[in-house]
Symmetry: C2
Amino acid sequence: METIISPSNKTVKHIKSLYQKKNRDSYREIIIEGLKNINEAISSEWKIETIVFSETVYRSEDFDFLKNSCVLKKIKTIIVSEKLFNDICDTENSQGILAVLKIPDKSSFGAVTADDGFDLGNHRKIVILDSLQDPGNMGTVIRTADAFGADMVIVSEGCVDVYNPKTLRAAMGSIFHVPVYKSYDIEKLIGELKGLGIKILAAHLNGENFEDKDFIGNVGDTSSIAVIIGNEANGIRDSIAAAADRLIKIPMPGKAESLNASVAAGILMYEIFLSKT
Amino acid sequence: METIISPSNKTVKHIKSLYQKKNRDSYREIIIEGLKNINEAISSEWKIETIVFSETVYRSEDFDFLKNSCVLKKIKTIIVSEKLFNDICDTENSQGILAVLKIPDKSSFGAVTADDGFDLGNHRKIVILDSLQDPGNMGTVIRTADAFGADMVIVSEGCVDVYNPKTLRAAMGSIFHVPVYKSYDIEKLIGELKGLGIKILAAHLNGENFEDKDFIGNVGDTSSIAVIIGNEANGIRDSIAAAADRLIKIPMPGKAESLNASVAAGILMYEIFLSKT
């Protein structure tokens, strides 16, 4: 197979354009990077359009299994020079491999609107992200939600794009395990969740100290809980905090005033979701 | 004060050079970004050499307090155009402010060698990082260690540079609260810590499940504990794992195979350090 070296190659230009949200939205395609993510995508229901190998990676025997999968599943593959790969993908220390996926028509990244009356079914461990801005944090939260068996992640309109390549990279394939929904009206959604008997806990610097599992017991029915995590700098919006059942705070005896949002989310999910699995 | 616009200005060139480790090492200077970090530095024992403002930030009244502090403490300030600021500092969404600090002769980032026989004193809650590679993760771990009252962080030789601007950014000023030491021989150091009666717990995918605080009780004396966190992809080196008292694993009932290193560190510190404060 020929190695592409020209940045003006049509396929290369198209792929590069997907690093911008407006193009992801219009083409309904996303980019995932790295072997782990690609392997997860291959075993998922998502359709892989193209896999891009850097020349060195394509020649390495370590990737023979993946190359065979591509042939077997008739996935289009292209090889590009190292220089061009680094030009396409702005990741430092990239693994020299990325894939373009088609967003499924019925994507788990579907929009949840309050009017959808969406079926929660058995989704009883929910993570809600309010205006989370950092793509790495969002991906890390999705990965942690997956590890701790959360049933879904709901992101507010003000959150960073779930399809952001940095989000997908940090999610390490968990995006293919945990459904992520977008809500255009978190306050209304919280009302609906409460109506379904789901307790809403919100991480908040003015919250009650969250010291041990007894706190969870105090919440009442612990089988259905949603945890809300807010923006890195500003926390949860007041209207959302007001809608929650309880505001909780992770005790911090040291000097730091707050925790990184994905660390706080991790500790809360660990305490809350693990106490009932 | 005149606004600098030329990238070939001598001071600007010098500051820009500090984004490279070799220059930080040779000049013994580091860069910190953002108001939060700079405020923490001002109230610390570190010496601020220069503060760089972008033009807009300098003109904003929000920064009057800081500008007055600079005058009062005779800190050199320079103003650069927006374009030049973004050229110096490769951060997306920078706050338009950064500072150059002199590394103190007796820096808390001092080197710990096994031969130093360094005095642990009351340092009884210790975090050890083995070959942690991501600067964001390292900064986040330092921030969390600060929040949960850890007494020190020790980094192995194979870790990313503590002075990396991304590490310092993620640490959100906690670098000025928690001493960070570098060890050139972690195995030997672990031996020394054990000799001092400190229990060594290591996060390991083959470890025992770390389910609740009873586990901590089982460790024995819970007043002196060191937690080791390993490399993002490969975990803790075998020789280090072999030297630990116990290998522990955070239970993950979901599909993700592992947690982000800074999330795992956060959960372990939360359980271990908070159970005895």
